[in-house]
Symmetry: C2
DNA sequence: CTGTTAGCGCCTTCAG
DNA sequence: CTGAAGGCGCTAACAG
């Protein structure tokens, strides 16, 4: 089933078939009709490998991300896919399991079969990033801003988000908070930490505890967080927060009366359980959409867009409250 | 950067390069060394489009699934990806949003750029399935067994899983249960319903309520489920169950004292909240692994494997208990 | 506006 | 065991 078969069926040359199918040039309507009919009758579909070879492009964009099981990414992916489809492209996604070495391989692999790449929350260091970008393949960074890198970037404004959290806690009277830190190699985690450190200027004492990005991590870290003596537990994301929350409850700790807990990302995990998490929201849909658009622009017009930051919004819900004054738990809810 | 460039660098013909790279034929070790070195120095990577065109295959398998946001699928995907990588293939996934029409398009699209397809929980009807399989592309069905279809299938044994649930409830004294039904077009849902109906032979009265597959669906259906007067709420999956559970608690209903709730799939959502869900477990990893292997077999040897059913296991946890005898809630926990 | 011609980069017969 | 030659299906530059 080739373009030639369609050609004979429509009594035209293969080129003409190609032209009507791609709209590359004006074709006599009569011939075009014959072609369309033949295509329909034969159920012809262009061979993508042949097209790719001839055109030098695949009609596919690649997405690399650390973990598909994180509810964060399906939302982003849906938006990216929508944009890609609107531009007539497929999407190929690969997950790295948070491993920088794997990331390198995946990107190399994706470059072989995609016209452009979206690197979501890459964990690799700046040098590796520079190396990869140097290959000249269009790629845009998502949730990672790397200064001086020849690739457009778009990210949620983690720093501002965490600042909102700190402000909220400060106003509730919290002066000592503990932060359950995300993956060490995560730039996004670094931004959160920076914002926390900045909050110390306002008289807030911050303890950083290595933790992780999953519910399990939060669950395991909760006791240590409690022991730190902080009145509020700030977390890398909602998953960690929920894990911690569960553990605290099991230990009979009253949240938010005895201790406040804050999430990050608004994964809307709050369907579960009675209390819903105070957190900051991420515009995941917009993030995916704009990232897709930036990549498309980069691929088609070589447009190197300015780095963009997307704002987060504070969502005060049930897990934060005024700090308890002494040893007794008599604080009021926020 | 073509195979010819490598050839000149290694002072051999392109054919020789191809042969050492693919292990297609015996090559003088000295030449092979030169080739490897040249490849390394030039950083050469075969053009996939050219390979695909010449070989007539893409080195890619396609996966179609209804919804990436369902935590069920990332687990399956990880296993599929692992198998695919072990066989030197990439994975391309597309989600249909539970829409049979979209499914048709996606499969058609995937057939154009993949050597084989995994159709996960397809919602399309049998006729459409037959049509698609008729195209002669290797495909295996996951979580859908369709009799007389010329495609291998593998599925979790939903019927047996639901039977375990019914038995468990019956032994706790439940005689009236309500089922929050999944997507109408879901074969897996049909299997669950069949098992429920079979349970009626044991004196169990079953009411089926249309619901859906998401937490939101469960949340919204909970009041209706309660009104049905049943003593136990059986659900399409853990997501629905959690949604219902949350709503019941908000209404002050004591689970499991006043009503029992059972999930399905063991999505391990139980990190959240105080009570963990009684449910049946799905071997998602094994499902993905075996599906991948079946597809590989089908692609390489045309092996048409027997349909396989994977067993589920009952996990009795905190949300089921003995039926309350009258109006008072004095049941004990299971 | 249409058909003919020459590759895209690789694999795979076929000679040697 | 190696090189040369043809073709995979399509597009694009070239004549007509």
């Amino acid at each position: 089933m080739t373009i030639t078969d369609v050609g004979v069926a429509a009594r035209v040359s293969p080129s003409t078939v190609s032209r009507v199918l791609n709209g590359t040039a004006k074709v006599d309507p009569a011939l075009a009709d014959r072609v369309h009919q033949a295509v329909r009758e034969l159920g012809y579909r262009p061979n993508l490998a042949a097209q790719g070879l001839a055109r030098g492009e695949w009609g596919t964009i690649g997405v690399m991300l650390p973990d598909l099981a994180n509810p964060y990414f399906p939302d982003v992916l849906k938006a990216v896919t929508a944009v890609a489809r609107a531009n007539g492209r497929r999407v190929m996604v690969m997950e790295s399991d948070e491993d920088p070495t794997v990331e390198q391989d995946l990107v190399t692999e994706l470059m072989r079969c995609c016209d452009g790449l979206l690197l979501c929350s890459p964990r690799m260091d700046r040098a590796q990033l520079v190396d990869l970008v140097g290959h000249g393949h269009p790629m845009v960074l998502v949730n990672r801003i790397a200064p001086g890198l020849a690739a457009p970037s778009i990210s949620v404004d983690f720093y501002a988000g965490m600042t909102l959290i700190c402000g909220h806690l400060a106003q509730l009277g919290h002066r000592e908070v503990v932060y359950l830190s995300g993956p060490e190699a995560s730039w996004a985690n670094g931004e959160r930490v920076r914002a926390l450190n900045a909050a110390e200027a306002f008289g807030m004492k911050v303890t950083v505890l290595p933790c992780g990005s999953t519910t399990r991590d939060g669950n395991e870290a909760a006791p240590r967080a409690l022991e730190s003596g902080a009145t509020a537990i700030v977390t890398y994301n909602d998953l960690v927060a929920q894990g911690a929350l569960t553990r605290l409850r099991q230990q009979g700790v009253d949240v938010p009366k005895e201790v406040s807990v804050v999430g990050f990302d608004d994964l809307s995990l709050d369907w579960f359980g009675l209390a819903t998490l105070t957190t900051v929201s991420t515009p995941r849909d917009e993030l995916g959409r704009r990232a897709g658009e930036m990549l498309e622009l980069l691929m088609t017009e070589g447009h190197d867009t300015e780095p963009r930051y997307l704002p987060m919004a504070l969502l005060v819900r049930d897990t934060t409250g005024t700090v308890r004054t002494t040893a007794s738990a008599r604080g009021a809810q926020g």
